[in-house]
């Protein structure tokens, strides 16, 4: 019997997360050199907003499922008891307001809460995947994870970046001693800094002792970033050496560049931002958001006794965005095995660290202690990113 899946989403429109992930449950996706169609059947859909281009009805008709007006009905497929084996929550895209930290108030917590209400009332719960960060608010995110523990259902969350292809195919050895780590990201806040933070987190969580929690954060932006001694120039050179998309002179005449060594970096990045994240075990990590420098996501870390390791998280081209196929294969694993392939705590800590970083920015870049982010967990024994 195929697993019965409910999709709960903000919008279902071409190239929205719901479309490119949800469709993979309907028509399959490339996996390990085959077109893979999992033993899954989408049986119900909830869409919060139906803007122009909405595809929900069209998909429902073609693939034989129903769009329900509420989340509870979606999970119960119109009946009076939970009638699905798994829930896919995709609260990304759609028209939602922003708060004073600049976060889009996607209703992931609200969607999740409604699912939990059904689970509680019906005395049964099923695996839940939550796309991207859990919530803009750590308290809400924490509540979500706590509920999954309390009710005993497996939960997976997060972005495609930790599971996509890496150039090169780098996995840090579990238990390695990381002395310093730096991530380079681009794009707006809060969607893209979240992706970058999660990419960094999936690497640093593999260090000796595992993740020990975030002790403090500080978000500095503007010129002050360049002279801040807390980030390593050597790691930045290494991360940028993995980029396929340097800007500036490369755009002019396609030349290769050492952006750091030549000093071009400072000329082409108008408003750099550094997210300094200090961990309870003493590790200091930095995300540099360098809009104007590059267009891809790269990482470098100094490993004790082994030198610098670096890679690019490969965001494959639109429209295929095959990185989302990598993610869907992990969601499928969650649904089939009722075990999360990697810990939801990764997404929890990143959700919270991002919120605190944005709060730091709001206070003009003050360092904030984050005792609430003492989230401890271990990385997975086996690599979870695309490599086969």
């Amino acid at each position: 019997m195929p697993k019965r899946v409910a999709i709960v989403t903000t919008i279902y429109r071409y190239l929205s997360h719901a479309q490119h992930m949800g469709d993979r449950f309907l028509i399959g996706y490339p996996l390990h050199g085959k077109w893979h169609k999992g033993d899954m059947q989408v049986v119900s859909l909830y869409v919060d907003q139906k803007p122009e281009g909405d595809q929900s009805q069209e998909r429902a008709k073609e693939f034989g499922f129903k769009v329900y007006p509420t989340i509870a009905e979606t999970l119960r497929c119109g009946g009076d008891k939970l009638a699905v084996d798994a829930v896919l929550i995709i609260g990304e895209h759609g028209d939602y307001p922003k708060n004073d930290l600049g976060q889009v108030l996607y209703p992931r917590y609200e969607f999740f809460k409604e699912c939990v209400d059904v689970f509680t009332k019906d005395g049964r719960s099923v695996p839940v995947y939550n796309d991207k960060h859990l919530s803009y608010s750590f308290d809400k995110a924490k509540w979500m994870v706590d509920q999954s523990k309390k009710l005993g259902f497996p939960m997976l969350a997060g972005s495609s970046l930790p599971v996509t292809w890496r150039l090169p195919d780098l996995e840090l050895p579990l238990g390695c001693e990381i002395e310093d780590a730096l991530m380079v990201g681009v794009g707006g806040s809060d969607p893209m800094d979240y992706h970058a933070l999660e990419a960094m987190q999936c690497m640093v969580e593999r260090r000796k002792g595992g993740e020990s929690g975030v002790k403090s954060v500080q978000l500095v932006d503007g010129e002050a970033v360049w002279d801040d001694p807390r980030w390593s120039k050597q790691l930045l050179v290494s991360a940028l050496s993995r980029s396929d998309s340097p800007q500036g002179l490369t755009i002019t005449d396609a030349r290769t560049q050492d952006l750091v060594g030549s000093g071009e970096l400072r000329k082409i990045v108008k408003n750099p931002a550094a997210y300094f994240i200090e961990r309870n075990d003493g590790l200091r990590t930095t995300l540099l958001m360098l809009n104007g420098a590059v267009k891809d996501y790269t990482f470098a870390a100094k490993i004790k006794g082994k030198g610098i390791a670096s890679t690019q998280f490969f965001l494959s081209p639109v429209p295929n965005v095959t990185y989302s196929a990598c993610l869907v294969s992990k969601i499928e694993e969650l649904f089939l095995t009722a075990k999360a392939p990697y810990p939801v705590e990764r997404t929890l800590i990143v959700s919270g660290a991002l919120e605190s970083c944005l709060q730091s920015r709001k206070t003009g870049g003050k360092k904030l202690d984050t005792p609430h982010l003492a989230v401890r967990y271990q990385g997975t024994r086996t690599a979870q990113h695309a490599r086969g």
Binding site: D23, Y29, I308
Partner: protein, 416 residues
């Protein structure tokens, strides 16, 4: 028989570096504009490139350049101003002798890709690689010594000339490296064909034109299948298919549908076949609608291996490989990843591993990849073009049946 063992016989007559210190390199180019092969390769010597997690500066001085066609979009003059150690010379001979009358460089880049050159009746672009090579060799002859040469892409559009280039490097005992970036770029997944695998059939799904990207696709295939048990045994015959004949051949199972589908499933650029879907697997009628001019080169090696190169322009924009390996249930497949500017990236970074391998050629005076691979793919490209020109006739290829070589044990593709 053409084999590498013949190359290895006898001591090489390659001269030691012209002088103690950094080696001097000359670049002989058809043209040098933004996104031309010369720009990608020579720029990496001038400005360095990301390699092994740092910005790597090649330990060479690119001291001279000769450009056949320097038009309005030329960048070589600007580069020479910016990097004064590189001088522009008015002839190939002078670029190699630095005006001294004798060979004065330690390595030569021969980049005969891009530029306006005539096409012949078979639609082959007559890039003057052979002509440039002859000029280079003339200087070697006159100077009584020879240095390593890298020839970008295939040796020549003309088989006899290509073979002469190969023979000349053997006769004069200088290392000649040639070929495309495909064998050396990133792979998703990052896998190498196991050495001594028993390979029954191989397919490459790619895109692009005849006498152009077909060569890249053939290199993609060859760098993998040459690792099979027994090494490369030579190619017996070649048959090309296009248009309706292609679709008929596909239906008739001339190549494995399973391998073709597997290669397609490694693509990151499958054109959606239905509006509103971003990544669906195309049904046959969608393939026919999306691919207006499909081209296949199907050929058989002496040990019975069948290889097929499929150009699916309109359906994919990448190079994907799949083969049947004995003992494996599923096809062995991967994509040779080309970060292609300007749509997806700003740097054509597949030229970084190619340049790095060229550096190895210059440093060790030994080509890191077998020249026979490129001799074979050069011949296969020409044979494919010939078959198309002769109404897709199956052509016996006795000249390619003699190309026998073992694959290098070390992988040369980009992994770190």
């Amino acid at each position: 028989m053409i084999s590498r063992r013949a190359v290895l016989a006898g001591a090489p007559l390659v001269a030691p570096a012209a002088q103690i210190g950094r080696q001097k390199i000359a670049a002989i180019c058809t043209t040098y504009f933004k996104f031309s092969h010369s720009q990608h390769i020579v720029d990496r010597f001038l400005f360095g490139y990301g390699w092994n997690g740092t910005h790597h500066m090649p330990p060479f001085d690119l001291v001279s350049i000769w450009v056949d066609q320097a038009g309005d979009t030329d960048l070589s003059r600007g580069r020479a101003k910016e990097v004064p150690s590189m001088k522009i010379y008015p002839s190939i001979a002078e670029a190699l002798t630095l005006g001294t009358g004798k060979l004065a460089v330690d390595g030569v880049l021969l980049i005969g890709e891009h530029g306006r050159y005539d096409r012949n009746e078979k639609r082959q672009t007559k890039y003057p690689r052979y002509e440039f090579f002859k000029e280079i060799v003339k200087v070697f002859d006159a100077s009584g010594r020879a240095v390593p040469v890298f020839n970008d892409k295939h040796l020549s559009w003309n088989w006899d000339w290509a073979k002469e280039m190969y023979d000349t490097s053997l006769r004069m005992k200088f290392p000649l490296m040639a070929g495309s970036s495909l064998p050396v770029t990133w792979r998703t997944p990052s896998v190498e064909m196991p050495v001594n695998a028993k390979v029954r059939e191989a397919v490459c799904v790619a895109y692009g034109g005849v006498d152009s990207y077909d060569f890249h696709a053939l290199e993609t295939l060859q760098c993998m299948v040459e690792r099979r048990k027994g090494g490369e045994t030579g190619v017996k015959w070649m048959q090309a298919y296009r248009g309706e004949n292609f679709w008929k051949a596909m239906k008739d199972g001339v190549w494995s549908r399973e391998l073709m589908d597997s290669a397609l499933c490694r693509s990151h650029t499958l054109k959606p076949s239905r509006p509103g879907f971003n990544n669906d697997f195309p049904a046959e009628e969608s393939m026919r609608r999306l691919v207006r001019q499909p081209v296949a080169y199907v050929y058989e090696h002496n040990d019975g291996l069948k290889s097929s190169m499929l150009l699916f322009s309109g359906l994919v924009e990448d190079f994907n490989f799949a083969c049947h390996v004995d003992g494996r249930k599923d096809p062995f497949s991967t994509q040779m990843y080309l970060p292609m500017p300007p749509a997806r990236t700003s740097l054509a970074n597949f030229f970084s591993p190619l340049t790095n391998n060229v550096e190895k050629l210059f440093l060790t005076k030994k080509s890191p990849c077998p020249l026979e691979r490129t001799l074979l793919t050069t011949g296969l490209t020409a044979a494919g073009v010939d078959s198309l020109f002769q109404n897709e006739k199956r052509l016996e290829t006795p000249h390619l049946a003699r190309i026998v070589y073992p694959a290098p044990v070390d992988s040369t593709f980009w992994r770190s």
